[in-house]
């Protein structure tokens, strides 16, 4: 009863947006704060 899920390593969303010239405007409109994941109300 051991089951393995292979993970594939691909481009991140940041890389994709950067390649399309969309990253800067996205980050300007939506400042990124890693804490939002753990403290949503913060």
């Amino acid at each position: 009863a051991v089951h393995r899920v292979p993970l594939r390593k691909g481009k991140s969303l940041r890389q994709i947006l950067k390649e399309r010239g969309l990253l800067e405007s996205y980050l300007q409109q939506h400042p990124y704060n890693p804490a939002a994941k753990y403290f949503p109300s913060f």
């Binding site: 393995r4 994709i16 704060n33 939002a36 753990y38 403290f39």
Partner: protein, 323 residues
């Protein structure tokens, strides 16, 4: 309502496949030890943003059961709302029956079109699951689908393949350097105590009176408190954007974390990220509420150096050095 903050997944690079329903409908998901809910887009989301993703169609599943409970997924450019439902979820051949999950319905921001994954499968504790939804691994345990109440993760640094999540066991070929077990300090996230300072080149740079750390496959970098980040950047000779000369990598020291009395070094080959001839440090600032104390997030930069065992049966994390 359940809330997922997708902007936190901007840097993630590792994805796997699951299927939902009978017959199974395939989805690419991020296996995230930093959250507890499962959600995927559904056919009710008809916006162009959703058109680039696989969408779950309840009417094509003979085992689907709907609910009236709502779900909200917050993206950087808006939120996607949906409903919760139950169906069979198949992960690595394991059939989890009556698994609750979110079916995203309404239009998110346009950038979701480019998102490299369809949804997220959370692997943290039920105590942080939105809407009280039972996490997938809890159902795997209660339905006796796994021989041990644990799962383990290996993230390969260089290869596009080779990384995996192993449900129900430990791959002994990844633990030849021994396993150090660290008890959890809270059964919410995979949260552990760093019991000594964090050191860079033997110098204490942060966490001098102990602090908390979360082991999170859903965070790519090492997220460190604002105050610690400036110390680390300064000590390593990086500018305020974390940029550093690629030639400096060979002379940089290890960053060392102390967990349960043991040192866990992260070498510069792991924490310096090279891209297109430029090098940046794999650290980012995390600004947490004061009452939360000093919190670090040990993301993929750390996990690539250690085979990590997430032991729900004993509420502990096991780390085995890969080098």
């Amino acid at each position: 309502a359940s809330t997922e903050y997708l902007q936190n997944y901007l840097d993630n690079e590792y994805y796997g496949s699951i299927s939902i329903g009978t017959p199974g409908q395939q989805f690419t998901v991020l296996f995230d030890t930093g959250s507890s809910n499962l959600w995927v887009p559904s056919v009710y989301c008809s916006s162009p943003a959703c058109s680039n993703h696989d969408r779950f169609n309840p009417s094509e599943s003979s085992t689907f059961t709907g609910t009236n409970d709502s779900l909200e997924i917050t993206y950087g450019t808006g939120s996607m709302t949906g409903v919760l439902g139950y169906d069979t979820v198949t992960v690595a051949g394991l059939q989890v029956v009556n698994q609750i999950f979110g079916l995203a319905e309404t239009e998110p921001g346009d950038f979701f079109y480019y998102c490299p994954f369809d949804g997220i499968l959370g692997l943290a504790y039920p105590s942080i699951s939105s809407s009280g939804a039972t996490p997938v691994f809890d159902n795997m345990m209660s339905q006796n689908l796994v021989s041990q109440d644990l799962f383990s993760v290996y993230l390969s640094g260089d290869e596009q393949s080779g990384s995996f999540v192993l449900f129900g066991g430990i791959d002994s070929s990844y633990t030849t350097n021994g396993i150090t077990w660290i008890p959890l300090s809270a059964e919410t996230y995979w949260e552990i105590t760093m019991d000594r300072y964090v050191s860079v080149g033997g110098q204490a740079v942060a966490c001098t009176s102990g602090c908390q750390a979360i082991v999170d496959t859903g965070t790519s970098l090492l997220a460190v408190p604002n105050s610690a980040l400036s110390n680390i950047l300064s000590y390593l000779g990086a500018n305020s954007n974390g940029e550093i000369s690629c030639q400096a990598i060979n002379s940089l020291p290890d960053v060392v974390f102390y967990l349960n009395g043991n040192a866990f070094p992260v070498p510069p080959s792991a924490y310096v990220i090279q891209s297109n001839g430029y090098c940046t440090l794999g650290f980012e600032a995390i600004d947490v509420p004061t009452e939360a104390g000093e919190l670090w997030i040990l993301g993929d930069v750390f996990i690539r150096e250690y085979y990590v065992i997430f032991d729900r049966g004993n509420n502990r994390v096991g780390l085995s050095p890969l080098a």
